[in-house]
């Protein structure tokens, strides 16, 4: 957490959440600048390891945003990702880390306002928790994960 602002890593599906984030920008909607977006071809690409690595690299919170149920470009990638996120939330609790730091959201590419709202909600939620479970010096940690994914 730098200057009290939590770092949030957002794994976003190319077809919905990433486009929604873009739309939020086009609409000039305000949302916290501390949300680091990592684009996935589909949230079905999400691996539990990405989530743990994000926390290890110093993220205070991680959100995964995939398509609305029934709207996945690859039929069921979003539902698979949702199951993986649920499994990692269970694991986090066993590791002594608040599972609320991780959340899955559904949204469509037309929901720029919803993306901004989720980013604000997530930031607010994490702000009420203690700092990062794995603090890193500066921002290098989160940046390196971002680079690895791209």
């Amino acid at each position: 957490m730098t200057d009290g602002e939590p770092k949030i890593v957002a794994f976003c599906c190319h077809y919905c959440a990433f486009a929604a984030a873009d739309l939020a920008g086009v609409l000039r909607l305000k949302y916290p600048p501390n949300v680091y977006i990592i684009r996935l071809p589909c949230t079905g690409k999400l691996d539990a390891l990405y989530l743990l690595k994000a926390f290890e690299a110093g993220a205070d919170g991680v959100m995964v945003a995939g398509c609305l149920e029934g709207s996945c470009h690859f039929i069921s990638g979003n539902l698979r990702a949702k199951k993986r996120v649920a499994a990692v939330k269970d694991l986090l609790a066993k590791l002594g880390i608040e599972p609320e730091r991780l959340e899955f959201f559904h949204l469509s590419s037309a929901q720029g306002d919803r993306f901004a709202q989720i980013a604000r909600e997530m930031t607010e939620r994490i702000r009420n928790l203690s700092p990062s479970p794995s603090p890193q010096e500066g921002e290098a940690g989160v940046r390196s994960v971002e680079k690895e994914q791209l």
């Binding site: 590791l95 002594g96 880390i97 479970p133």
Partner: protein, 224 residues
């Protein structure tokens, strides 16, 4: 393949409690296929343990790796130097790998998995036991379906009275009765007549009941 399951994370953390420098060594054979102890699982478990230990204020230095087959010295040998620098090794292989490393190296080798059974993949994420390794195969007489492994009571001469009307087993209801499967399979093979043979009581000495087993193929043993 040998099917294993990862131990609960709490148990793994407890095992690792006294150590600060540990090698997490996976195996790229059976346990990688059953998604319990391959390279990927090593990465996941290492990340989880690092996070938990950081939370406790007792960081741990983890080296990650995976060998082709942990049950063979030849594949473990290239890791010798790294292993000898550790306080302990957490093995993500089946019990055979843990035993093998323990015979070779004088440091604690900790098991990260519970080794379960010889099984097949039913579908992704689901494995079932189909061979009990009893040491005396009768699959040619039972249509290739093993009543020792797949019947909860190891029955050799037909089903018990507990088989349900839908052909499932009374002990593990979602699983089909092995003898119903055998009956249907032999019908498809036109071999139902073989059911008239009565199996004598099984000699279990070739199973675990005869003590730890050993196989020696004299023509392959090299002179020392």
């Amino acid at each position: 393949m040998i099917v294993a399951d990862q131990k609960p994370i709490e148990e793994i953390l407890q095992m690792l409690e006294p150590y600060r420098r540990v090698l997490f060594l996976g195996c790229q054979s059976c346990v990688a296929v059953c998604m319990a102890g391959g390279e990927k699982e090593v990465g996941l478990l290492a990340a989880a343990v690092r996070l938990a230990r950081k939370q406790q204020g007792r960081p741990i230095e983890i080296t990650e790796g995976a060998v082709k087959r942990q049950c063979d010295d030849e594949f473990n040998e290239p890791w010798r130097e790294i292993i000898e620098q550790q306080e302990a090794v957490l093995s993500l292989a089946c019990g055979v790998g843990v035993n093998k490393l323990s015979e070779r190296f004088d440091l604690p080798i900790l098991p990260a998995l519970n080794t379960k059974f010889f099984g097949e993949v039913e579908r992704q994420g689901v494995w079932v036991e189909v061979c009990a390794g009893c040491g005396n195969c009768i699959l040619h007489l039972t249509g290739g379906i093993c009543p020792i492994a797949r019947c909860a009571k190891n029955l050799l001469n037909g089903p018990c009275g507990g088989v349900r009307a839908d052909g499932t087993c009374e002990v593990s209801p979602p699983r089909p009765c092995a003898w119903v499967m055998i009956y249907e399979r032999l019908g498809r093979l036109n071999q139902r007549k073989s059911l008239e043979n009565i199996f004598a009581a099984k000699d279990w000495s070739s199973d675990r009941h005869g003590g730890p087993r050993r196989r020696i193929r004299e023509d392959m043993v090299l002179e020392t």
